[in-house]
Amino acid sequence: MDKKTDVSILTWILVAFCIVNIFFLVTGKLGFDAKGLGIITAVALTLAMYSFLYKDNPVFKIAENLFVGVAMGYWIIITWFNILKPDVYEQLIVPFFKDTGNAPQYIVIIPTILGIFMLLRFSDKLSWLSRWSFAFVVGLGAGITIPNFIHAFILKQLTFDSLIAGSLPDSINNFLILLGVVSVLIYFFFSLEHKGVIGGVSRIGVWFLMIAFGASFGFTVMARMSLLIGRIQFLIRDWLGIIQ
């Protein structure tokens, strides 16, 4: 019975969707061109995604898989036009065949080879070569991370504000900030048992964490609602044309 209702709901929605779009196309509200058909495609995908709210269903799965494929295709093509073409092809290969006024940049061979090695990860015999590339990139990343993090996230984040500031509220805030940072750090301190003073301070740390998580919670609700508002705006403005 369940399946039957589902199929009939789907059919009715499809029929309604077609009627609305045919009406828009006939009345000229949406042009029979790339733009008009684009909007119809976009609306169809948007609604297909929302069908997940009813339940997980084939329409949603098709839309999602299609999206995953298109996103991957886009990534590949963008990488070609933005990275591989200007940085490898045009610097290393083109100068061999065409006089561009620049000599081939032989130095580009090194990262290109390392890049190709990386792809050998999927080969059974040569996958060890990919480790050289990963070692290069990961080692490089680790090396630059350490001093820059010490500078930006530790030294710059340590503030030693006087607890007696210009005004009473400022003084209280300075004290609360100090207490918050210290107590949260103590909460994430694992070498001592949380008893006595340490236990008390770590308890305060939990409260600070909970307030911070509450703030994140509120902001996340805000974020998701904003996304929904944007999509509804798209549907009733760009498609239905009810609002301007």
Binding site: F52, K61, I150, F160, V182, F213
Partner: protein, 402 residues
Amino acid sequence: MYKIFLTFILSIFLLPYSSTFAVEVDMLIPPSDFQAFDTPNDNGKSVSLRWPSSLSESTEAEYVVYASLRKNGPFTTEVLRINSKTMYEEGSDSNFHYMEIKPGKFFKKESDNTDGKPSYFFKLVMMANPENVAVENIASVTPKGNWFNWKKLNNFIILIAFSALVLWFIEHAKKNPNLYLRKISGLDAIDDALGRATEMGKPVLYVHGLNGMGSISTIAAVNILGRIAIRVAEYDTTLKVSNIDPIVLSVSQEVVKESYLEAGRPDAYVEDNVFMAASEQFPYVAAVSGIMIREKTAANFFMGYFYAESLILAETGAATGAIQIAATDSYTQLPFFITTCDYTLIGEELYAASAYLSREPLLLGSLRAQDIAKGIIITALVLGAALATVGIGFISFLFKAG
């Protein structure tokens, strides 16, 4: 250094000339000295200019610096023009002006032709209007690159000290795997949840996060899975493990199998219970939610790194009435676990729990070194604030970011 000295000597010689300008009251008095020197701790591209404040500084008067590659000029290239009441040297109480400039920018072509490092000559002029001009003497400098940035000394010391701590404690933990770690209270909650699932005779569901084996969260999650699997085998309950990553799947199968072996129940291990639920985020949610609803799991564990799906998973689990325990270091998702789960391991507690259970020297030693670093920071913060309150800035000087 000798060049600064030379300019200084030169300036003394020129002092009488400058003072002649100061005869009339509305005339500008140029600064009594003008130094140009190589900026310390730099790549050799910039030079520093420094001069004492003039008595006749006002918002109308400007300082202008001209530069040349030759000692005798012509000084036509303007490299700096500032209001005379600005750019005071930090901490000089407005008694000195100080700034760094990059002369290479102004002499791009010329400096390319010179071999080696060019010397630059600067002329400082103070002017209020085109008629009212006071000239200070000429200073010269050859910029050069430096091999150590002394402003970053504290950063460097931290790097060396922390490296030593990490390496030493990992070695130490190898010899002494019983390094003390405080008890993670969430681990008791795990045992309680397993006990309840056994009483109810319902399966236990273990949900992996979305990240692959490369992520620390997943490694930690697998360590905890091993321990849960042993208990489950002892209690003779069913354990289901859902995966999204094929590599995590095979590692999990291995771990669960070993745990059953260790508990002496290899026969109870069913490979299909550690399964691939889906390969994309939302289908994963749908598949795992489906299992929770159909099988009425008694206990759900969410361990690893989660993204937006956390909310739907935890909500479905809460609605079916399961005991839920989460452990994640994805801070943006923690609020939802805290409000929907019975117990949540927050951030680094996940790593600590995994170190506590696995007693792996690598994890234990590193955790201890991190604790010591935190201890130093806590002490510095408390001491620094206390000293700052009584007006001593010693700690903030030590931790100044250069």
